[in-house]
Symmetry: C2
């Protein structure tokens, strides 16, 4: 018999309780023991809940109950989640957390705390919601040298972009629709400015490269300045604009994480991820590439991931499986965004094709970059802009220089986005 | 210090050794101990191999060496793999196998043998090559009631179909190209007739539903009778023809596994899986749906999955994690193909649209099926056939009746494929 507690009875926490009791028999078979939700922590009253007798407002009821060996933390935010999780781990209670902010800011410390107290700190739900990604990265792909990860890690922005791409909606209209559908919050800043995706790529980067990457170290650009024209021109050139959170290891061993709107060519599976779905593409030397796709948020999908961790923790109590990464006050292993290199999608004011080709050739010659491909220009009727992919990769630093060079030729750069190659 | 052995030094086995030594340091960190390949079993001579001192032709060298605690079986085929794997498990040596034929035919017995001897039998590589699917199904999705799985589980046929879809190649030409590229064997029967995909869906079905499903119980249809016209008409109607291996739980608890060419609508991610890639879509009550995508075969991708298992077995020696399923001499829990229900893609000889609509309406009325959607007909120039999706799901049994009814109206059914809804 194993008891677990749930911290936070909001959307995710109530989903954990609901899914657990729905599939209790099957879950107990998987865990190899009978299981029960013993306590649920929440400051609010739920007089009509069938689980009201399990509710408590006092964390000590959970901390001091030795029969509770596993705790599911579904509160969100750093405090009081951090204090509570740490207190649980210090008492040898394993924790399963869906809290990306907590893991992105305090992951290294909490992992060390779990290891010191011979218990587990799992957080499968913190990245990609229902999508199994943490455990597969850590276990199934353990033999690989993973050098790059790129993902669609925020469902709200993917919904907005998908609506812009397939229904020709403006950003504002698409955001409104997302809010009406409950996919975006009243204050959508954390989603549309990329902060949410940033936390998740921090977690994946820390896990794969072994050192804690802090959100402040990650260049983050949201989708608020994207126009419908940007999206349509990218489509004409053969790609979908997606908010891509990625991390790449450079040749010198430093890593380069970033969150940016990016043009994903249609031959890349990530370009087909629609609606509120998330997906993560992993590149390693053994697997080549693998992708994990599913619902990145929502009550039951997130609960599924939390409970998967809880089952594993109950099944293997006292064995430390936790992945580890080191805290890293010195973040100099994170390279600055100027070094990030890829082909670029460039949207410019309309100009003579010869003039553009001429300006590009001169620029690439000045940078000693050999051009093998011809530039394909895409334009639309009734629009003052045209766009192209650069025929060779540029660093973000070089891309700025290209913009300056074009400007000197009186070609105005309206937008510039990296291409996911 | 942990030693493991490799059975079979062919493509996969040599990949395991190569990837292990390439990433040795990193793999040892993951496993938490130093590791070494102690023996490699193969009847052939490899005088130029850097690993020739590890090669043996005598299985006893491995069985009787107590320092070898884990064995990677990469031989393929049932014998002698079965005898060797069983002997290893009986001596308490954990086994990681890439051998889908072995698992599909002897999985239940070998899992029981591993449990009886307190060791592990893993087979992540046996389905979907590099794609993490066995462990995620068993662990990360453990809280879900999984009711359906559908996948592209054979890279050879997916390559052929992708060439037919995007390059308008005939089946014969695409098969020839696959053979030239080394994606298809000289005798391509196991791939193109669906036998390989069948073994893999047996493994997934057994794992998810807890009873061994034998290949003989699974209705299996390959892609040899598909024409370029079938593929093109499906595309006009909004879908890609893929060889889909699937299993569904029926309302009465029986399951219905099958392997069939299937029209996958373009809004389904599986329709975008190109080239030799594999993907598995999983439907559960918590996650809704999740998809796993990657290379389904090949030297290093398969080696990555085998080594992931080896690392896990070395890290957690003596703890039985193995998923279990029961042997099932009585296969009556597997429903017959006639009960399988979905919309159908129907390709018929050209006829007056009114005549077709009339015949369809009469048929659906006779079956008491209400129609909500209108039938959309798709045809091509210079071709004697047109096609449509049935406006409502039909069982395979009803689909046969539809063909008979149309035939009575002198409309000849040239092809009929299920639609993945």
């Amino acid at each position: 018999m194993a008891n677990f507690a749930v911290l936070g009875f909001g959307v995710v926490g109530s989903g954990v309780v609901e899914l657990f009791y729905k599939n209790k028999k099957h879950i107990e078979e998987k865990a190899g023991t009978e299981m029960e939700v013993k306590k649920i922590l929440d400051l609010r009253d739920f007089p009509d809940s069938p689980y009201r007798d399990k509710l408590t407002t006092n964390m000590d009821d959970i901390l001091n109950d030795d029969s509770i060996t596993v705790v599911a933390e579904c509160m969100g935010g750093v405090e009081p989640a951090y204090t509570y999780v740490k207190a649980c781990l210090e008492r040898g209670k394993s924790v399963s957390s869906s809290n990306k902010e907590l893991v992105a800011k305090k992951g290294a410390e909490l992992l060390a705390c779990a290891a010191a107290h011979n218990c587990n700190f799992f957080f499968e739900a913190s990245v990609g919601g229902a999508i199994p990604i943490i455990r597969p990265l850590h276990k199934c792909l353990a033999a690989n040298d993973i050098h790059e990860i790129s993902g669609i890690l925020n469902g709200t922005t993917n919904f907005i972009l998908a609506k812009m791409i397939s229904d020709n909606m403006s950003f504002d209209d698409a955001l409104k629709l997302a809010q009406e559908n409950g996919y975006a919050e009243k204050d959508p800043t954390a989603d549309v400015e990329g902060f949410d995706a940033c936390r998740k790529i921090c977690i994946l980067s820390s896990l794969v490269f072994g050192k804690h990457v802090y959100p402040e170290s990650v260049y983050t650009k949201g989708i608020t300045s994207l126009t419908l024209e940007d999206v349509e021109l990218a489509k004409l050139l053969g790609g979908a604009v997606k908010l891509i959170a990625s991390v790449k290891r450079l040749e010198d061993g430093r890593i380069l994480p970033s969150v940016m709107p990016t043009v994903v060519p249609f031959h890349n599976m990530l370009s087909h991820v629609d609606d509120v779905f998330n997906a993560v593409m992993v590149n390693g030397d053994g697997i080549d590439k693998a992708m994990f796709y599913g619902r990145g948020a929502g009550k039951l999908p997130t609960a599924s991931a939390v409970l998967g961790d809880v089952i594993d923790e109950i099944k293997h109590e006292r064995t430390v499986f936790s992945q580890m990464w080191a805290d890293a006050a010195d973040q100099s292993f994170v390279a600055p965004i100027g070094e990030r290199s890829s082909r670029m999608f460039v949207k410019i004011s309309k100009a003579e094709p010869e003039k553009i080709t001429q300006a590009l050739s001169e620029f690439f010659r000045s940078q000693n970059i050999a051009l093998k491909a011809k530039v394909q220009l895409a334009g639309m009727h009734n629009d003052g802009c045209i766009a192209f992919f650069t025929p060779a990769p540029l660093t973000m630093h070089q891309a700025d220089q290209l913009a300056a060079a074009l400007s000197a030729d009186e070609i105005h750069v309206c937008a510039m986005l990296p291409v996911l190659d």
